[in-house]
């Protein structure tokens, strides 16, 4: 951001030695260990860290609030001369919504589904006695226009479920702006959105925050996003401050190892696998059309070929049909037309008719390791079941194989074999899912968004592990993802999908080098980069190309 706040504004919010405790079982554990934070008027401060870093907890504490199960146990929070820890509930109530506002990660969960957007907009100003309803509504329309929502005069009269996710997030930003607060806390406002939608929301937020000279705390796990938004960045880890600096200085010259790791994430690149020489591809999806309940067509004449030992990435945004494609391949959703061929041989449409060997050859790894593992089974049983089910190993042989598999995924057998999934971290659970898939000794593994639910550093470890396993075992991957960084890191070939169709497919180099299909172009250009000027440049570039009369897709979310 073009330092409109900088270091010369008056101090708006100051935290000194902030300590917060969280309750687990019956004890209180400290989760934020004495954080100092200073925010000046008009300044945007980025809080960044992985899950468990305490960034949301600190963000909420700036309103003098702690979530149920948490309590502020030490330090001071002073907002514009007022001590929030000493303030009465009544004083805090007056402050919240009018002078400090909050924008949550999931706008869909933060809006009341039973009321129109504009009524929810007007609630805060009317309740705080700032404006009358008519005025507030007129202003809402003005803000909706400013946030570039379509049809700003009428969109407010819709219910939350009648607008898209990106639009809802912008409507929520408008709502936070309603009382012209001095401070807005943005808690991962774009994390749940598709990349092409994220751009719109980021641009809109940046624009209004600058316009009204509002101070903001911007919380995210994505350094590239925070680079676009913040004047200053604080890197947090396990409730401690790692590093704090101006955004540009930190990106150009990070001092701590941890910051450097975060910056280096997404730079991993695998070497391209040798092309598949055999005439028949391992997996072929031939002209598949599929629908749910025969009405809405989710896949429209989709054809994909996957060569042996290769990694094919299917990339697209939510609703593009990429997960449905996985369901068709595994036989959970029989297609209405077309066929799935494995090794040149047509597979029965439903998994119920497939032989045990056909099932064994194609294994699946899921997005959410929490729900992909039975919480009541021990690791030994989770991995051991496919070993005995498909390969018939028993007793000592089975045990030996389980231990081998655990070693393959870099987990110590003695330590982990008797654990329950609840006793593992997210990344460890995903490793167990990988081991379960490998236990079947498959030729193809379908990876459905396997890194989306994980922190970036953990996700990268998982990608490296998958790559090592491919190098060792020659297994083929079909990677389903919305994340282009993952595609860049691990794929040999790319299939781009939009609204149930294949837009473009080819080798990774081809897809990532222009000229592109307009949608591929939109998708590729929308991935945030670490450069703080990236967003401004991108928007300027898109505007210029439009001015020249070129066809530019701006969003797939209308």
């Amino acid at each position: 951001m073009t330092s409109n706040g900088g270091n010369n504004g008056e101090v708006l919010l100051e935290m000194r030695g902030l300590r917060i405790e969280g309750q687990s079982e019956d004890q209180w554990n400290e989760i934020v260990h004495g954080i100092d934070l200073t925010l000046r008027r008009g300044e945007v401060l980025g809080l960044i860290g992985e899950s468990g870093a305490g960034k949301s907890t600190i963000g909420i504490a700036s309103m003098g609030f702690a979530r149920p199960g948490c309590r502020i146990s030490g330090g001071s929070i002073v907002f514009d001369g007022m001590d929030l820890r000493a303030a009465s509930d009544e004083q805090l109530r007056k402050l919240r919504g009018s002078r400090i506002a909050y924008v949550a990660q999931s706008a869909a969960a933060a809006f009341n589904p039973a009321h129109k957007l504009i009524d929810q907009y007007s609630e805060a100003p009317v309740q705080h006695g700032v404006k009358r309803k008519g005025e507030a509504e007129k202003e809402a329309m003005e803000l909706y226009r400013r946030l570039r929502l379509p049809d700003p005069e009428n969109i407010g009269f819709r219910y939350p479920h009648q607008v898209s996710g990106g639009q809802l997030q912008r409507a929520m930003t408008a709502m936070a702006m309603a009382c012209r607060p001095d401070l807005i806390v943005f808690d991962e406002p774009t994390t749940a959105l598709d990349v092409t939608t994220q751009i719109e929301v980021l641009a809109a937020i940046k624009d209004v925050v600058e316009e009204f000279n509002t101070a903001a705390i911007y919380i995210t796990h994505d350094l590239a996003v925070v680079a676009q938004m913040a004047d200053r960045i604080m890197v947090l880890r396990y409730g401690d401050l790692v590093e704090e600096d101006n955004a540009r200085d930190m990106l150009a010259n990070p001092k701590e190892d941890y910051t450097r790791q975060l910056l280096a994430v997404r730079t991993y690149r695998k070497e391209e696998a040798p092309p598949d020489e055999s005439p028949v591809p391992l997996l072929e999806v031939r002209n598949v059309t599929a629908s749910y309940g025969g009405r809405v067509i989710v896949l429209d004449d989709v054809s994909v070929k996957v060569g042996r030992g290769r990694t094919v990435a299917v990339v697209g945004e939510s609703g593009s049909g990429k997960s449905t494609l996985a369901r068709v391949i595994t036989g959970l959703l029989p297609p209405s037309e077309g066929a799935v061929l494995f090794d040149g041989e047509e597979l029965p449409a439903t998994y119920k008719k497939r032989s045990r060997d056909q099932l064994r050859h194609a294994q699946m790894i899921y997005q959410m390791p929490d729900t992909a593992l039975n919480p009541r089974q021990r690791i030994r049983d989770i991995i051991g079941r496919p070993v005995s089910f498909y390969l018939g190993l028993k007793g000592a042989d089975r045990e030996k194989r389980i231990r081998e598999l655990l070693e393959m995924i870099e987990m110590d057998p003695d330590e982990f074999i008797d654990r329950l999934p609840g006793e593992l971290s997210g990344g460890q659970k995903q490793r167990i899912c990988i081991a379960r898939a490998l236990a079947a000794e498959p030729e193809l593994i379908i990876c459905d968004e396997v890194t989306s639910a994980l922190d970036q550093l953990v996700a990268e470890e998982i990608l490296k592990l998958l790559q090592r396993l491919q190098d060792d075992l020659g297994v083929t991957y079909l990677f389903i993802t919305h994340d282009l960084a993952t595609v860049r890191a691990i794929s040999d070939e790319v299939v781009v999908m939009l609204e149930g169709r294949v837009v473009e497919q080819g080798g990774k180099a081809d897809i990532f080098t222009p000229p592109h299909d307009p949608y591929t172009d939109l998708l590729l250009s929308s991935v945030p980069e670490m450069d703080p000027d990236w967003l401004d440049n991108l928007l300027a570039d898109r505007a210029a190309r439009k001015a020249r009369g070129e066809k530019v897709m701006e969003t797939s979310d209308q």
Binding site: T330, Y351, M364, A372, N374, Q377, F389
Partner: protein, 277 residues
């Protein structure tokens, strides 16, 4: 053993009280014949003798010892209620899990069948069937178990509905596992806590239901001692201000309260409901 001890120490006083009550009832039921001076239906005195020497709680309308019959009543009523509840859970639980796992028409068929059964008032339906078939103990158990299994079916179905859509169940299906494996290994262990809690409550209802049937004369038949019929047989005493007929009723109430305390504690422990704030 140490674990059980630790668990008991963490239990709230209400749950400990409930556990003590249940333990006492079970002991009395098992060692009944050793505790009683007379036989179950032995006539030992004149009718309606007062509390005192020889007969601690007096005698009933036929001159049988009241305390003896109370103790045997625990045996009969609790035993039959327990067997009935187990049977109800076997039928309802298996069918409920089967309905969600198979889905489609199997689910529809079972669901509608249960709807029909549930549409008829349970007491009237039971009275009707018992009048036709006669009131032997096996018939009694079977009828109540089938009628009660509809409630268990509903619960088992709704609990497993949330589990069957999880990825690990899908993974098991795609592995090629059979329906039985999916039910017993993947779904059932995760559906246990609400089902166990329901077992306690269901047991109470069955127990009350048997007592109600006995009171109406269609439950456990004389001369077998049973708390429901004991209330009915001696009900006239109430008119004279004698509380003896309330003792079997009190025994029923105490057990129901005890079981509910334990179930509450179990539910809180497994579902993570907290009392604070």
């Amino acid at each position: 053993m140490a674990q059980i001890w630790k668990l008991l120490k963490s239990a709230p006083p209400t749950a400990l009280f409930g556990l003590a009550v249940i333990a006492a009832y079970i002991l009395v039921a098992i060692f009944g014949p050793l505790l009683t001076p007379y036989g179950e239906s032995e006539i030992v005195g004149s009718q309606f003798e007062l509390w005192g020497e020889g007969f601690v709680l007096g005698t009933d309308n036929l001159g049988r010892d009241m305390l003896t019959r109370l103790i045997y009543g625990a045996r009969n009523t609790i035993g039959i209620a327990f067997v009935t509840t187990c049977l109800a859970f076997l039928i309802g639980g298996v069918l409920g899990l089967l309905a969600t796992t198979l889905g489609g028409w199997a689910d529809q068929l079972l669901g509608r069948l249960v709807d029909v059964l549930m549409a008829i008032p349970i007491l009237i339906f039971a009275l009707l069937i018992l009048t036709i078939t006669g009131t032997s103990v096996p018939v009694l158990i079977l009828v109540i178990a089938v009628l009660d299994s509809t409630r268990v079916f509903r619960l088992a179905r709704s609990v497993s509905m949330n589990i069957v859509v999880l990825d690990f169940v899908e993974a098991a299906r795609l592995r090629g596992e059979g329906t039985w494996w999916i039910i017993t290994r993947e779904i059932l262990p995760n559906a246990m806590p609400p089902l166990v809690a329901e077992f306690g409550l269901r047991f109470c209802f069955v127990f009350l239901f048997i007592s109600a049937l006995s009171f109406l004369g269609l439950g456990i038949q004389p001369p077998t001692a049973d708390w429901g019929s004991m209330v009915r047989d001696n009900a006239t005493l109430i008119t004279y201000g004698d509380i003896t007929p309330l003792l079997p009723a009190g025994a029923i109430a105490l057990l129901t309260v005890g079981v509910n305390f334990v179930v509450d504690w179990f539910l809180h422990k497994t579902s993570g409901i907290r009392d604070d704030k």
